[in-house]
């Protein structure tokens, strides 16, 4: 199982849109795929029309071994399942602190589903916390959407600095440009320059597009209702490029 965490310190950059659209494409391509909606706001669960509720909440997940597997729900799409968000996730840090080996608790939890799926997508809440540390420890790929602005570049550098530690050597941090508006000269320049940490960014950019915003109306992955749109094409290309990258490692 390859674990892809859609993560950024910053909010509202397209993490959830990425997790939802790429997980759909992974399953469409034939891979058994699981999404875990880790954000108490439950946006990914909402897009997949699944009620944001886990029996026993996060305390239950950590207490019993088979709870995570029991929380899995089939989406409306073949090969694609989801662990819903739960309001109790907002206290995740407090809960994690009380566990043994608090920094790798989620990695341990995931062992129970490893054999069942080829891909796991984690839709992460913004911020940096004990939960994020757990995510860095559990993920193989940290997929970071970056809006091309100077401030975003700085947050990306903060993330990279944090992940540079010994504990996360297995982790591949993969940034890409998200919500790109080609009419803005700053966006164009930043993409052309790829300075500093952006050097390793994927070639594919996700454009700013109203079709993506409409995911909230359709409550479904972009591919299912706007296959022909440039944004859907961009997600397909992003997924292909990411697979090529992980195959090349």
């Amino acid at each position: 199982m390859i674990t892809v965490a859609c993560y950024n310190l910053k909010g509202g950059v397209g993490k959830t849109a990425t997790a939802v659209n790429l997980s759909y494409l992974a399953a469409l391509g034939g891979a058994g795929t699981l999404v875990w909606d880790l954000d108490p706001q439950g946006a990914a669960s909402f897009y997949y029309r699944i009620k944001p509720r886990v029996k026993g909440g996060s305390p239950g997940l950590f207490r019993r071994k088979r709870k995570l597997a029991a929380a899995i729900k089939a989406t409306d799409f073949p090969r694609l399942d989801l662990v819903p968000a739960d309001f109790s996730y907002r206290n995740m840090d407090l809960l994690l602190e009380r566990q043994r080996k608090p920094g790798t608790r989620i990695r341990k939890l995931l062992k129970s589903v490893r054999g069942q799926y080829q891909y796991l997508f984690l839709d992460c809440p913004p911020g940096i916390s004990l939960l994020s540390e757990n995510i860095f420890a559990a993920a193989d790929v940290l997929l970071v959407p970056v809006i091309p602005t100077t401030l975003s570049l700085r947050t990306l550098e903060q993330v990279l600095a944090f992940c540079a530690g010994e504990d996360y050597r297995h982790l591949r941090v993969v940034p890409f440009f998200s919500m790109v508006d080609r009419r803005k000269s700053l966006h164009r320049e930043m993409i052309a320059q790829r300075s500093g940490a952006l050097e390793q960014a994927l070639a594919t950019c996700i454009p700013y597009a109203s079709e993506v915003e409409q995911m909230g109306v359709h409550r479904a992955p972009l591919e299912t209702y706007a296959h022909a749109s440039p944004a859907a094409g961009a997600y397909r290309e992003l997924w292909a490029e990411l697979q090529r990258r992980s195959a090349a490692r």
Partner: protein
């Protein structure tokens, strides 16, 4: 995927009738009719089936999809939104998980269609207030497309598909259905349904050798039984060899020919002499006729490994060799194999051989050993051949000419065939051990001779390619590097012979052969 429940639908009611009734009764949302054509594939010898896999290609309005499954179709291993390439070779699929898995399972074999189903289905869904599907029910008919225009109806049924995490919805719907329909424990595995309808197992017709003999059989009856099995294999592989579906058809065809020749030769005094002479010549003709084509098949199979010995910048320069081999292969197939297998001589050979196999056994046969017990004949022949090999092998030293190793290889092949013909007369474990010991020696001898033949052929090809102007300086260099590597390997194989033979001839193995084959009371022969 969770296990589905199946409810057969009797009567002549149309699918639409059931759809309307169920959607009204259970408050289910109906989706438009789906038509799916599912074709199952396997190699001629049923490799996927034997390993517990199935490969299906589904055709819907949305396009084609290939899926590799396990566990009676319940566990998806890999999928790809594409149709199978016309060649049937996994190597011609786009790179990815599916191709990797299939290449490993099938090796050099091509995929051929096993059965095709036509499924018509009305999907029904139980949907919650979020618009989320919680349970799926299908009203469907499954038909087999077996050549005719209209599918043969196999089953009309309801299929309840529970979804992970929504067990309660499935249970509730099942309870409702139980009032009106009988639940059948039958399989939801459509492949099993298709196979049951065709009455065939993949690989069943590939003519794999399975010879069952009794020790007290008349030798001529046993020999004829073996010959008939070999002839069945030959015929089973004939069409595929002609079409060149994959290299193994011709290979198995040739092995059947060689085994038949060996049988005629080894059981000299069991067959009537005149018959033996005539058919030995005919089968030899068939063997020689196909030799060049088989060699070309082998070089093409090895091509990837040829490329691999070259430094990466030289690899493209070897492509002209592949083109040349493909051209020669095509030429051999069309100009020799096809002409011969569609010609009179082959037709007569088959007809006459079949006539002999079908004829009643002679009451008073002329052949000396025809009436002997087959186990006696088998012991004696095998034991003699074995002892000849031991003596010949021991006489070979580091300076012996290659011809001696080639002769030994031939003798080993004969021994191998004898052991395979008569396998059923011996305790399975003991004979397997002996075959394995022999096989290791054969591998070494085979490597040595094959490499020699390859070097000679490739040199000749190089000359021919140069004549035809398909030979750049880079290609010349690539060929030179390749030939040098093959030469080195040939020497290595030659060097390894002594150790391999010593291993084959070690006391423990000798004792095993003795136990199996030394004729009873034959102490003087040892």
């Amino acid at each position: 995927m969770q296990k589905a429940s199946i409810y057969p639908l009797g009567g002549a009611q149309r699918l639409r009738h059931w759809r309307d009734r169920l959607s009204a009764q259970a408050g289910l949302t109906a989706d438009p009719l789906e038509q799916v054509q599912i074709t199952y594939y396997d190699s001629f010898d049923g490799r996927l089936y034997a390993a517990g896999y199935s490969l299906e290609q589904t055709h819907t309005a949305a396009g084609a999809e290939l899926r590799l499954l396990r566990d009676s179709g319940r566990q998806l291993q890999a999928a790809l939104a594409a149709a199978l390439p016309v060649s049937g070779f996994p190597a011609d699929l786009p790179p990815g998980e599916l191709r990797r898995r299939l290449e490993k399972l099938l090796d050099m074999r091509a995929l051929l269609p096993v059965a095709t189903l036509q499924v018509r289905r009305y999907p029904l869904r139980g949907v919650d207030d979020e618009g989320k599907t919680r349970v799926r029910l299908q009203v469907e008919s499954v038909g087999l497309l077996d050549g005719g225009g209209k599918p043969r109806m196999l089953q009309k049924r309801l299929l309840l598909q529970p979804l992970r995490g929504y067990a309660k919805s499935a249970r509730r719907l099942a309870a409702g259905l139980a009032r009106d329909f009988a639940l059948e424990t039958a399989t939801d595995d459509l492949y099993a349904l298709a196979l049951a309808a065709t009455g065939k197992r993949p690989g069943e017709d590939s003519g794999k050798l399975d010879i069952q003999l009794q020790g007290d059989m008349r030798a001529d009856a046993a020999a004829r039984h073996i010959a008939a099995r070999l002839f069945a294999t030959l015929q089973a592989n004939e069409a595929g060899a002609l079409d060149g579906l994959d290299s193994e058809f011709l290979h198995d065809f040739r092995v059947a020919v060689r085994r038949t020749r060996s049988l005629l030769d080894e059981l000299k005094h069991v067959f009537p002499a005149s018959l033996r002479q005539r058919f030995t010549a005919e089968f030899a003709w068939l063997g020689n006729l196909t030799g060049t084509l088989r060699d070309l098949d082998v070089y093409l199979l090895k091509f990837a490994s040829y490329r691999a010995v070259l430094p990466s910048e030289l690899r493209p320069a070897l492509e002209p060799l592949r083109t040349f081999l493909l051209y020669k292969q095509q030429q051999e197939r069309v100009e020799r194999l096809t002409v011969a297998l569609q010609g009179k001589r082959y037709h007569k050979l088959k007809q006459r051989w079949q006539r002999y196999l079908d004829a009643p056994l002679a009451k008073r046969p002329v052949a000396r050993d025809a009436l002997k017990r087959i186990d006696r004949v088998a012991h004696r022949r095998t034991w003699r051949t074995y002892k000849r090999i031991l003596a010949a092998g021991q006489a070979i030293n580091a300076d012996s000419p290659p011809g001696e190793l080639h002769a030994l290889r031939k003798a080993c092949k004969k021994l191998r065939y004898l052991m395979e013909f008569f396998q059923s007369l011996y305790p399975p474990e003991q004979i397997q051990v002996a075959i394995k010991a022999l096989k290791q020696l054969q591998d070494n001898l085979g490597d040595f001779q094959d490499l020699e033949v390859q070097v000679v052929s490739l040199r000749r090809f190089a000359m021919e390619m140069r004549r035809r102007g398909e030979y750049s300086a880079a290609t010349g260099e690539a060929m030179a590097v390749l030939l040098e590597t093959l030469e080195t390997r040939r020497h290595q194989a030659r060097d390894r012979f002594a150790a391999r033979f010593k291993r084959f001839a070690r006391a423990q193995n000798q004792a095993a052969f003795k136990r199996l084959f030394r004729p009873a009371g034959g102490a003087k022969t040892s």
